[in-house]
Symmetry: none
Subunit: 547 residues, 2 copies
């Protein structure tokens, strides 16, 4: 089986992304996760560009990796200087890593206009820098910057730069598409030619792609199918401009589809978790539609699709979601059919066969509501409540007698948002008032104030997201408003929805669903255990019947 | 030069994306934009799955496309039925489009387990359905669903399905990677074999890719480099699960790098604008790092990169950003920003040279506001007011002394939205009150009531759109809210923006800008004519100087 090593540069190239900045602690945490995942090389940073990275390498000495090798990144020596006197190379050695990655210029445009050195001096800079580091006992990876652009321009000079790196003792030379402008058919041609030229040179060959043409993952895979054995990329593709090759796509493609055993099955099953951990640390909203690891990667919306997936998952899933630690999701929406409802109900421990009248009732109810403008895809909490209502398993926790929300702007520009609310809970009328940062926040505060005395677990939950969409917006402010609220407690996250011409009413509906979901969950903990058991028994009965 | 036709399915496959739902009006607006962009085929929807799509095709009759052909999408006939009696096919004809796209099954797994028909009946279903539609004078595109999975399983059966479609009279047959699981090297092999088998068949061949392996764009391009002449995709890649092939990457790759003249240079330069328009309508936050059209696509962060780009943009830009209507951004730098302000001011007939202090002032003001979360791209009205304020050309039409907005929900579920407002206009205090469909509508009504007596032209304008976006949404309801309002009178449309933690305050800001823009426009009609004339004279003077 073919062997390919994985080289991650999230901590260096990923930091070049707009809006991403990791602290030293962030970097240490990510490095450990990458090691857990089975990444072979972890590039930690560029101490020459960044004092934070100097601190990282100092702290990183205490990391105990299971298998990964840490690498430091920097440029070849400056022009007209011996390698031994170059402060950049000294800084790289000082990082104390077993591996050093040196980048040098392949494209004559850069040699001429950016570095301003002769062709020959650039070649000397590469060879002497690699040799200097190699002789000090470090493994050397040589990144040939702008290789594909350079090759388009002058292939023989580009090959010379690689030969210099190999002569200097590089363990691996990496063809970089630094500007991300190279298309797949060109990558195949160039890699094929370079691999033939470099055959038997003693160094391994790798690839490093950027995504400016939207083909970084494909180019990386084509590099491997043309014989390269080292791939560079970043987790979630974080990187400058349009991102780097996304390792969360590259790895499962290699492993599940190209027969490259780059990480174990058990480690592959951690992929989704590691991807989300890193987006959490980077404080970047995860991309729902990210291949393999995105929330929507195995989400089925169309009724026909759901029906087919129930018959055989292979019909609409290219790989089994658990292989990468992800899961199938069935969305309920205006395009869904009964299969979607049944599948969803089963997740909540409710058994609905296709022919039960309740199934039709829920479906009809949901479709009617979606037609009005409700949307249950991101509102599983509201959908669960809707099912319970349809099944007669819903109970009220409180009754609203009225609320009033006001926003006042005074002459001094001060804003006051206030809500008053009157509810009846367990026979008692509660009348509370609260201020807030805005009208919805004031309403949320007033509702909690009224209920927490009776339901103390409400203190565990809080709103984590609030979205507003104006529907049929071409009617101005009288259009319908849909509000989606996401809430969370210590164990789960749920979404709820509200819809009205009035934004306060829509927010109120979503707020109430959110609170009811929490109360239902907590009050029914023992009971739902029973429901699940019953459900299990029913399943056993059905099985017994079939025999 | 090679010819390739572009087929867009944003309105159908794009609607399958999680979280996307277009209204009929949204769809009509997008169709017109796609036509403007030079897309050859626009797939409007699937009337069999969705009553909304039936309405779309009814309304679409009034669209006057410059070059695009509208197409309707649906399945081949049901089993054991003649095509003439199939209600699905009748629905497709009823849509009244010049083109009909029929999808059928290529993969025996689906034939067997999902359709539950014999191999032979599936072939008959394809051929008879295509023939039936073709005989009724429509152009027919045949989408071979799951073609690549089917081909892996049984190539000769897959080829038979294509031959049946061609025999039935299909104008184009499209190889679909419905599950998105096929890798580039496999696409090349399969397309090469199929193209050889089908050579001279009389139909053109196309490709339709999904992105579940992260390689949809690459697969599409490889299809073209292997000889296919029809490509399907969606704008911004919107589509089920992990998206479709993103046409905003496919088109510039074809045009700028593969020598395929699929759209004109002038149309390509609209790409970024069309992409953002569609994400706005879809209410999906644009992906900053999207290739070619993303905000970060040509953003340079590293100091070395910026320096190199200033020496020669080719050093770190794979194509010139204006070719796709995008622009270079230098992060944390003033230079790019000033050019932007100058460009924008020129649009309003205001001349700002780089060195005028007003330019710096506007830039600093705008940057400060954008940093807070304001956005002027869709709020040209607010931006014009901001420029006038900076230039000392702004005057107040009224002073706010205070407002109060309240929403009350009574026990009988009745909702009352009321606003009271106190303003001073031309020395007179006006104190009015009004109800509305919601709090913003009530506020709008109260403001007009106070002002219309003094400024009767306000009766000519009305709000046509109202959008709310929650920024930094992970802080719950206390997050900042950005409101965009679109207003219109008999001669133009303008956008205004407001931002606050409080949705009522943000709405108020946008409302006031909207009203002020109208008043400024009307009061300054004669004067602004003069300004433009003066400005024209200045320009003439400068020209004279240069000579």
């Amino acid at each position: 089986m073919k062997r390919v090593v994985l080289y991650d540069t999230t901590l260096r190239d990923g930091m070049q992304a707009e809006g991403i900045s990791f602290s030293v602690r962030d970097k240490l945490g990510i490095a450990e996760k990458l090691d857990d995942l089975g990444i072979h090389y972890i590039e930690g940073g560029n101490p020459g560009s960044n004092p934070k990275d100097v601190a990282f390498f100092r702290e990183a000495r205490s990391l105990k990796f299971k298998r990964a090798r840490l690498t430091v990144f920097g440029s070849t020596r400056r022009r007209g200087m011996t390698a031994g006197k170059d402060p950049g190379l000294a800084g790289l050695l000082k990082a104390g890593t077993p591996v050093v990655t040196l980048f040098g210029k392949s494209w004559l445009l850069h040699v001429r206009e950016v570095l301003g050195v002769s062709r020959a001096e650039n070649l000397r800079m590469i060879e002497s820098s690699v040799r200097y580091i190699r002789k000090r006992g470090r493994e050397v990876v040589y990144d040939a910057e702008h290789f594909f652009d350079g090759y388009r321009d002058n292939p023989s000079y580009c090959l010379d730069t690689l030969r210099c790196a190999v002569r200097g003792g590089a363990d691996c030379v990496v063809l970089c598409d630094t500007n991300g402008g190279t298309l797949p058919h060109e990558v195949e041609r160039v890699v094929g030619e370079v691999a033939a030229e470099m055959r038997g040179c003693g160094a391994s060959l790798g690839i490093h792609c950027h995504n400016d043409s939207g083909v970084a993952v494909a180019n990386t895979l084509l590099g491997v199918s043309c014989g390269l054995t080292h791939v560079q990329g970043t987790m979630n593709g974080y990187g400058e401009r349009c991102a780097n090759a996304d390792l969360t796509s590259v790895i499962p493609n290699l492993k599940l589809k190209m027969g490259v055993n780059c990480i174990s099955d058990a480690r592959l099953a951690k992929l989704t978790e590691v991807s989300r951990y890193i987006s959490e640390v980077a404080n970047v909203v995860p991309d729902d539609r990210q291949p393999y690891v995105g929330v929507s990667a195995f989400a089925h919306k169309g009724g026909m699709h759901v029906d087919a997936v129930r018959k055989n998952p292979r019909t609409f899933e290219h790989v089994p979601p658990p292989a990468v630690g992800n899961r199938r999701r069935v969305l309920v929406s205006e395009v869904s059919g009964r299969s979607n409802v049944i599948y969803k109900a089963a997740q909540y421990g409710i058994d609905l066969s296709k022919d039960r009248p309740e199934t039709r009732k829920i479906l009809a109810l949901m479709k009617g509501l979606e037609h009005q403008g409700y949307q249950f895809e991101a509102a599983d909490g509201s959908f669960k409540l809707l099912m319970r209502k349809a099944l007669g398993k819903y109970r009220k926790f409180f009754d609203l007698e009225g609320f009033r929300v006001s926003v006042e702007k005074r002459e001094d520009d001060r804003l006051i948002s206030e809500a008053t609310i009157k509810v009846r809970v367990k026979g008692t009328q509660e009348h509370t008032a609260s201020e807030g940062d805005g009208p919805v926040n004031a309403l949320d505060n007033a509702l909690r104030k009224a209920l927490e005395e009776f339901y103390p677990t409400l203190a565990e939950m809080h709103l984590t997201d609030f979205k507003v969409r104006v529907l049929d917006a071409k009617q101005g402010t009288a259009a319908k408003v849909r509000v989606l609220i996401e809430s969370r407690d210590h164990e789960e996250t749920w979404g709820t929805v509200g819809l009205s011409e009035n934004i306060m009413e829509a927010s109120w509906q979503a707020l109430v669903d959110s609170v009811e979901y929490k109360l239902l969950k907590d009050s029914g903990r023992a009971r739902s255990g029973r429901i699940l058991q019953d459900h299990g028994k029913q399943a056993v009965k059905r099985k017994a019947k079939r025999r």
